[in-house]
Amino acid sequence: MGTDWGTSMKRAWILFPILIFLFACGQKENLEEVNYRLKWLYNVSTVGDLYAEAQGYFARHGLRVNVKPGGPERDALKELELGHAQFGVASADQVLRAAAKGAPIVVLAQLFQVNPLNWIYRPDQTLFATPEDLKGKRIGVTFGGNDEAILRALLARYGITEDQVSLFSVRYDYTPFYEGEVDFWPLYLNAQAVIIGEKLEKAGEKYAFMSPDALGVRFVANSVVTTREMLEKRPETVKRFLTALLQGWQDALDPKNEDQAVKVLLAADRETPEAVVRRQLPVTRQLMTTSPASEFGKIDTAAWQQTEEIMRTQKLIPGPVAVETLLAPGNTE
């Protein structure tokens, strides 16, 4: 009897972890798998996406989401259409270009309420009080990039012609700005600005930022997108994805969860020092949560309309795309 009992116990001890494992596998298989292609490499602008995945928000909504980094050679919109991804992040100019060419896409949420694109300058060397002061200045711009569209819109808004400024083609290397060759240099306020600002501080230099948004140019940045087919055929999946994602973003940007958010981001982005990430997070929070926390991800229709107008004026899209039809109903303001 004693031997039988002992043998049964041994068997139970062996079977127990196997059952747990099988249960876990079964659970995993019950999750609906989707791919989510980000716009850029893992960085602070993707912290909410990573947080939602790492903290199990997606799993709690019955989803297994493969959060894939983007990059210069990746285009989430093309991947959506080819079926390689079901959700993605794209900037408004990408969305409008794609829509103008018949891509069947829908914007589900707008991550940045304020476009993080700014121009850094040295206030003690470059006088800048009003946009008029841009005249005669050398301004860095990525030709073909959305900063070019934003800058041209800014110049047009204040009646500054292209021959009144000097445009300088920029790439990854900041040397022309450091050496004072260029007066204004484009960068993302929540990402590079923290790093460049720190370098200038160490060198004892003053710096400031010119924000096109503050000057009335409201050009939408990153948004979450999917295909029209996905929205029509799998509305429940879309709803669960969006609920989990926005909750993930909201919690990742909540100061209470900063340590956890930093940990999640550093696990994916090993190149950025923790101190830098801790300085980037509050800036990201400011740019993404201008509306009440409950409305995180709200789509700003007026800003989208202005973005479309800018792109039409600059002939970046051939004609109107009826931007309102691209924005998912129920999440617009």
Binding site: L82, P104, G144, D173
Partner: protein, 249 residues
């Protein structure tokens, strides 16, 4: 020769475009993913002029970089033939340096030299230099015993004569290597322009990529193909003329 190269390029190019269009219509993809023939045509008409100038700009840099690398490889290979040790050392160094991908080295070059002509030229030369050097070292280090023996035994051998003999005996091989490395010079220049320059067709392709405009990229590829074919045919013609002249003398 020109006619053959061009139509061969046309076959490859239009097969590629045809495959893309088959995918587009097979999978019902929008013009954003793969442009329609009409859009490619319209883009071609609008951008053929500026892109042609950009290709010529790139080709000029590629040819210059190619010439620089041929001269440099010839000089180093002539030095390398002095002793077996020097030859082996140069070969090892060339292999090691070639192992670094140019995309990793290019940003350093652009930081040091800026995004002007010098950087593009250096990168184009670097990409086609190493294959040239390895072949040239092989050619100039290998004695042509049956001919060199005569001049050595009569005491008339000089280093110039030795180089001439070895070059003449391997002219076919040298021509093939030079023609082969020409495409690498073109590729190197385009890569350099794509990474950081502000001129040339590589720069135009980068802008088109920012705008997710595949039609522009297809137009650029068409013109690059034509430009490269013309350069290769010119090199083959020069090589054949040189061989014919050497045979006559």
């Amino acid at each position: 020769m020109l006619h053959r190269r061009i139509y061969q390029f046309f076959i490859i190019y239009f097969l590629g475009v045809g495959l893309l269009l088959a995918l587009k219509y097979g999978l019902s993809l929008s013009d954003y993913v793969i442009p329609s023939p009409g859009e490619i045509w319209r883009t071609g008409r609008t951008y053929a002029g500026p892109y042609l100038l950009a290709v010529l700009n790139t080709l000029a840099v590629a040819v210059l970089g190619h010439i620089v690398s041929i001269c440099l490889a010839t000089m180093v290979a002539i030095l390398g033939r002095l002793t077996a040790w020097v030859g082996s050392f140069i070969r090892t160094a060339a292999f090691n340096i070639q192992a670094y991908p140019i995309v990793a080295v290019a940003p350093i070059i652009f930081i040091l030299l800026g995004d002007g002509l010098a950087s593009r030229l250096l990168i184009a030369a670097m990409i086609c230099y190493f294959p040239l050097l390895l072949s040239f070292i092989g050619v100039f280090s290998e004695p042509v015993r049956e001919i060199e023996h005569f001049f050595e035994s009569t005491g008339r051998m000089t280093w110039r004569l030795q180089v001439k003999i070895r070059a003449f005996e391997n002219i076919q091989k040298l021509t093939t290597v030079i023609v082969g490395s020409a495409t690498m010079a073109m590729v190197g220049t385009i890569v350099a322009e794509f990474i950081a320059a502000t001129a040339g067709i590589g720069y135009s392709i980068r802008i088109a990529l920012y705008q997710s405009d595949l039609a522009k990229i297809l137009v650029a590829l068409f013109l690059i193909g034509i430009g490269t074919s013309l350069y290769l045919v010119s090199l083959e013609w020069i090589g054949n003329a040189l061989q014919a002249r050497l045979k006559r003398t």
